[in-house]
Structure formats: structure tokens, C-alpha cells
């Protein structure tokens, strides 16, 4: 066997699990979902094919509005996660000493050690009318009556930011860690103010991390299920809940599949639009060599 054959063989061996993973766990189910979404049930075990399910989606304002609502809240969550996460990431990557860096990183990880459900219940225990915060405020005399801080959109946003912020911090830390401190010093040395250095050097340098962090955060928020359901109020519907309802309580796999395709398509569109609006592209940020 020549060296070239060996190289090719090892390439194939290395790529096989990846290709299988993409093929079996991502492509195939997506094709299946896409196929089911084009199917329309016309009677008992009778199906027709067409875009009726999509037409049904666009004809029903409840679904459209829920999707838009989900997207807006997810965008808000992404922006908040970036605003809160950036200083944290900057501190971990650039300010903290080597030893405390690991500890800080670990602290960011802690929320991930417990399940979504437990995290949501944590918020509930804190924020409910008879919860920790309300009771404390009453006993301190700050407020006269217990207040309900749960069951509204602000709680959902808070809960989601808390859940996804790590996925913003990690890519930011790893890009910022790669930044030579000398770049900052050069920025000051050449006359830049703090703000100039931040805007013209730190942010552009961190752009790959910002872009990948925002994409992950947005996708996670839009695709989350438990947090919006448990923390949300009477009016806060979430698109994944609609998908669940279609699949599980209404046995309507066709509509559920349609919603799934639409969620994927719409979130991808939002990511694309976000990249266009900020003048970024995947090639110049995430895939930058």
C-alpha cells in the first residue's frame, strides 16, 4: 500500500463517523420531517401531497404570531446575553489570573450541571408570590403586599438568558483569549481612548466569537421548550410548544412537521438577516482561518 492510499484510507476512516452523524442523525430526519410536512391527511389512513399544511400555517394568525413572538424574544435574549456575557467573558479571558480563570469558568458551567427543569424550578422558588424575593421584600418593609414576579415575559427572558448565556461566554472567551494584550496596548499607545480601543480593536477581534455565540444563543433560545413553558404566563406561548401540541396532543404529525420545517427555516433566515445587517458573513468570522 502506498503512502497516498494510506492517507486516503485514514481520511475516510476519520470522516466516516462525522458523515454518519450528519447523515443519519441530521439529514435523514430532516428529510423525513420535510416529507411528512408535505403530506396532508384527507381521511382515515388516506393522504394527499401538497403545501396545504404550509397554507394552513400562513392562514392562521395564532401560529404566525407565535413564531414572530418566539423570534423577537429570542433576539432580545441574544442581545441581552451578549451585553451581559461580553464583560464576563472579557474579565475571564483578559483580567482574571490564570487560577481564578478556571474557577470562574467553572462557575459559569454550574447551571448546566442541573437540568432545565431544576433550573426553571429554581427561578420559580425565587420569584413566585410566596417566593424568596417577594417574602424578603415584604419582611424588609420595602413592599406592603407580596408581588407575583413569575408568569410573564420578563421572567421568560430572564430564565432564557440565564440558560443560554454560557453558550455566549464560551466562544467569546476563546476568541478573546487568543487576542494578544499588545494589541490593546498598541491601541492605547497610538492614541486611542478606551472606547476607541473597545470599538475598533476588541469588538472586531472578537467578532468571530460574537457571531458564533449569537447564532448558538439565538438557536437555543428559539428552540427551548421547558423554560418558556414553566416560567411563562397565561399568554406567553412559544413556538416549540405549538410543535409539541401538534405532535403529541393533536396527533397531527403533518402540521407538527410543517412547524418544525418552518421553525428551522425561519431561524436560519433570522441568522442570515442578522449577519447581513451587521455586515458579517460566516466566511469572515466563524470560518476564518
Amino acid at each position: 500500500m502506498t503512502g497516498r492510499d494510506a492517507g486516503r484510507l485514514s481520511l475516510i476512516l476519520l470522516m466516516t463517523p462525522f458523515a454518519l452523524w450528519i447523515g443519519l442523525l441530521i439529514l435523514l430526519p430532516q428529510i423525513g420531517i420535510g416529507y411528512v410536512s408535505l403530506r396532508e391527511k384527507v381521511g382515515f389512513n388516506q393522504y394527499e401531497y401538497g403545501f396545504a399544511n404550509y397554507a394552513a400555517f400562513f392562514g392562521e394568525p395564532i401560529y404566525r404570531n407565535t413564531l414572530l413572538r418566539t423570534a423577537w424574544i429570542s433576539i432580545l435574549v441574544t442581545i441581552l446575553a451578549l451585553i451581559i456575557g461580553f464583560p464576563v467573558a472579557y474579565y475571564i479571558a483578559k483580567v482574571a489570573r490564570q487560577r481564578s480563570r478556571a474557577a470562574l469558568f467553572l462557575m459559569c458551567l454550574i447551571p448546566l450541571w442541573v437540568s432545565d427543569l431544576v433550573r426553571a424550578y429554581g427561578w420559580i422558588v425565587l420569584l413566585r408570590e410566596t417566593g424568596v424575593i417577594s417574602t424578603t421584600l415584604v419582611s424588609l418593609g420595602v413592599i406592603a403586599q407580596p408581588v407575583e414576579m413569575l408568569y410573564n415575559d420578563i421572567t421568560v427572558v430572564m430564565g432564557l438568558v440565564y440558560t443560554v448565556i454560557l453558550f455566549m461566554i464560551v466562544p467569546l472567551v476563546s476568541t478573546l483569549q487568543g487576542m494578544d494584550d499588545a494589541l490593546l496596548e498598541a491601541g492605547y499607545n497610538l492614541g486611542g481612548s478606551r472606547f476607541t480601543v473597545f470599538r475598533r480593536i476588541v469588538v472586531p477581534y472578537a467578532m468571530p466569537g460574537i457571531v458564533s455565540g449569537c447564532i448558538i444563543t439565538f438557536m437555543l433560545a428559539a428552540g427551548s421548550y421547558l423554560t418558556p413553558i414553566l416560567l411563562g404566563g397565561k399568554n406567553s406561548s412559544w413556538f416549540t410548544e405549538q410543535i409539541y401540541n401538534q405532535f403529541i396532543t393533536r396527533y397531527n404529525w403533518e402540521a407538527g412537521a410543517t412547524f418544525g420545517v418552518l421553525l428551522l427555516g425561519f431561524t436560519s433566515f433570522v441568522v442570515w438577516a442578522g449577519l447581513r445587517l451587521t455586515g458579517q458573513s460566516l466566511a469572515t468570522t466563524v470560518a476564518k482561518e
Binding site: 382515515f44 389512513n45 395564532i62 410566596t130 406561548s237 401540541n245 401538534q246 403529541i248 396532543t249 396527533y251
Partner: protein, 358 residues
């Protein structure tokens, strides 16, 4: 590298060794409700039948059907859907197989419930389910705060503004329909009439939204709301109410005046089940009186056996007695079989309610 390879080999060998005895034993894969397979019973059953290993998956009605539909009825050996969820699902998705009643100690079960379930689940002369636990849905009230509550409609009473709750599922649609003087079970057959009924119920529940604190999503959620006093009146499962009664005797289950909605959780066998004998053994095992006690203590519901109430733990027995009179029991409204299509209509109604803002 060599060393690592050896270690991997060693680990694999160990795994194979560990797996070997398990390969001989039969596995009983249960698809059931949380609390319907208490550890104590599972251990006891495995001790009595050393060659059977029990694997439990917790689920609910909707997910049970969705799971079995996705796998074509394979992956589980015994499922426990409610009696009204079997007929249509079987016709449409063919996910169960008929039971061999001669292998089940039917004579140890409560005859009226057995007959009821048989009526609901007989297709082409074959029976697909037998009863296991039964219970009702109704309302739960904190007697101190809401002593007069007696109807589904009280959830929307402005007296209790911001202090009531419900689960946004089909039960509340049906209950509200009854409270408005309609009988949804009679309307099942007439799609147009049912749609009309749902529209009225939807309107009523949207108007009611302001009155609610929140929609509860699970038993833990509901328990916390009631025990903390944030909610004084809620739609509930009776078992949840019975559990709370032992912690706070002010919290009682109230069968609505139009009748509590009664459900029977059953035993049914998925079409692709591979351990039928083990499944029959489990069914006969859990209806033995000493085991019923353990089961009912865990589920909080009544077993489908004669004198089931006597087999409840004392605190639960008291709760049941506090909740039901004989008249209430006579007034129970058993869920009727859901014809195909009904749940889709209900789904739309529920979505409208959830999305509505007023």
C-alpha cells in the same frame, strides 16, 4: 498505545461478561404513568420472578400514543393508556394487540369497571384493555378561602380573581361544557355540534383568562400553588388533591355539581410487545390485595378492585371520604371514547385560548 488497546480490550470483555447473564433474562418494558410502578413493587416482582427484569418508562396518554405510533407498537411490552384513548388510536394506528383474558385474573377486578373498559375497547369482538386504576378530575378548593366552590364555573368567578388555576388541556374544555349545560360526550358523534360547543367553551375560557393566576402544567406545579396559598381554587386530578389533603386538611377535592369526570387507566399490550407472559404476570401481580395497597399509596388513586377504598392508606381513605358522597359517585361522568378528529378540534380551541390576550 499498546497499553491503551489492552485496557480497552479488558474493559470490553468485562462489559460482555456483565451483559451475559442479562441476555438470558426476559425484560418487561413498562410504558406507564409516573408513580404507577413504585420501586417496592418492582423489586418484589423481580424477586418473585428472578428471570424477569422490569424496565419502566414514565409517560402520559398523549406521549404513550405518540411513542407507540412512532415505533408501530414496538419497544414496550405493556402500556397503561386511559380507557377512552384506546379505541380510536387502535383503529387509526393499529398499535395494540388483543388481550388473552384467560391469562388475567379478571375475577379479582371490580366487575363494573371491567365491563365499562370492555365496552370501550372491544374491536371486532376482541378486548384490548382491562382496568387498573381509576380516578376523577374535578376541582380542588382551599375550604378556608373558597368554602362555597362547587362547580367548574367557579374557577371563573370574579370572587377568586387571580387566585384560581387550571391545566390547559381537554379536561377543562369538557368540564366547562358540562357547567354550561352541555354534554360533550353526547356531541362526540356530531362534529358540527361539537365544534359549536367548543366555540362557546373557548369564548368562556378566554373571558376567564383574566381570573386565573396561571395555567398549571404538572402535579408538582399545582401542589406548590395550592400549598403556598397563591391559588385557592383549581381544576385538579383527585389524586393530587388527596395527596395535599394529608398535608393541609383545608384542601379538599370537590366533585363538581355536574359530576366529576372519571377516567380509568388500563393495561393494554403494544402490538410489537415481546414479553407477553411477563406482562400478564405483572397485571396479576399488581391486583393482589397486598400489592394494591402499595400501588394505591403510590398513585393516590383507587384500584379497579372490589372495596378499593379499604385498600387505601388511612390518610387517603379520609380524603376520599371527605370528597365523595354516594350521590357524587353515582354522578360520575366516565370519559367516552374519543372519535378521530375530535382532539384536533380541541387542540385548535386550546391554542386559541392560550394565544388570546384580553
Amino acid at each position: 498505545m499498546r497499553k491503551l488497546g489492552n485496557r480497552l480490550l479488558g474493559a470490553t470483555a468485562l462489559l460482555l461478561l456483565a451483559a451475559a447473564p442479562a441476555a438470558h433474562a426476559e425484560t418487561l418494558r413498562l410504558l406507564t404513568w409516573g408513580s404507577y410502578a413504585p420501586d417496592e413493587l418492582v423489586k418484589k416482582f423481580e424477586a418473585e420472578n428472578p428471570d424477569i427484569k422490569v424496565e419502566v418508562t414514565f409517560s402520559n396518554n398523549e406521549e404513550m400514543i405518540a411513542k407507540l405510533r412512532a415505533t408501530g407498537g414496538t419497544g414496550y411490552d405493556l402500556a397503561q393508556p386511559s380507557h377512552d384513548r384506546i379505541y380510536a388510536a387502535q383503529l387509526e394506528y393499529n398499535i395494540y394487540k388483543p388481550l388473552d383474558l384467560s391469562k388475567i385474573n379478571v375475577d379479582q377486578m371490580a366487575p363494573n369497571l371491567v365491563d365499562g373498559v370492555k365496552q370501550n375497547t372491544t374491536i371486532e369482538g376482541q378486548v384490548y384493555a382491562v382496568p387498573h386504576q381509576w380516578g376523577t378530575s374535578g376541582i380542588m378548593a382551599n375550604k378556608k378561602e373558597a368554602p362555597d366552590a362547587k362547580s367548574w364555573a367557579d374557577l371563573c368567578d370574579a370572587k377568586y380573581k387571580g387566585r384560581t388555576s387550571m391545566r390547559l388541556r381537554r379536561t377543562i374544555l369538557l368540564g366547562t361544557a358540562f357547567s354550561m349545560g352541555m354534554n360533550p360526550f353526547d356531541l362526540y358523534a356530531d362534529t358540527a355540534a361539537y365544534k359549536d360547543m367548543l366555540d362557546k367553551v373557548t369564548e368562556k375560557l378566554i373571558a376567564c383568562k383574566d381570573n386565573l393566576k396561571t395555567y398549571w402544567t404538572g402535579g408538582d406545579d399545582l401542589s406548590a400553588l395550592m400549598l403556598s396559598g397563591e391559588v385557592v381554587l383549581s381544576e385538579t386530578w383527585d389524586s393530587t388533591a388527596f395527596k395535599l389533603y394529608s398535608q393541609n386538611p383545608d384542601i379538599v377535592f370537590v366533585p363538581p355539581e355536574t359530576g366529576a369526570l372519571a377516567w380509568i387507566d388500563t393495561f393494554a399490550m403494544p402490538r410489537g410487545g415481546e414479553a407477553d407472559d411477563a406482562a400478564y404476570k405483572w397485571i396479576n401481580f399488581v391486583i393482589r390485595p397486598e400489592n394494591v395497597k402499595v400501588m394505591s399509596a403510590s398513585t393516590g388513586s383507587l384500584a379497579a378492585v372490589p372495596n378499593a377504598a379499604d385498600l387505601l392508606p388511612d390518610d387517603k381513605k379520609a380524603a376520599v371520604q371527605a370528597a365523595f358522597t354516594q350521590a357524587d359517585l353515582d354522578n360520575l361522568k366516565f370519559f367516552a371514547n374519543i372519535p378521530p378528529g375530535i382532539e384536533d378540534m380541541e387542540g385548535i380551541a386550546l391554542e386559541r385560548i392560550k394565544a388570546a390576550t384580553n
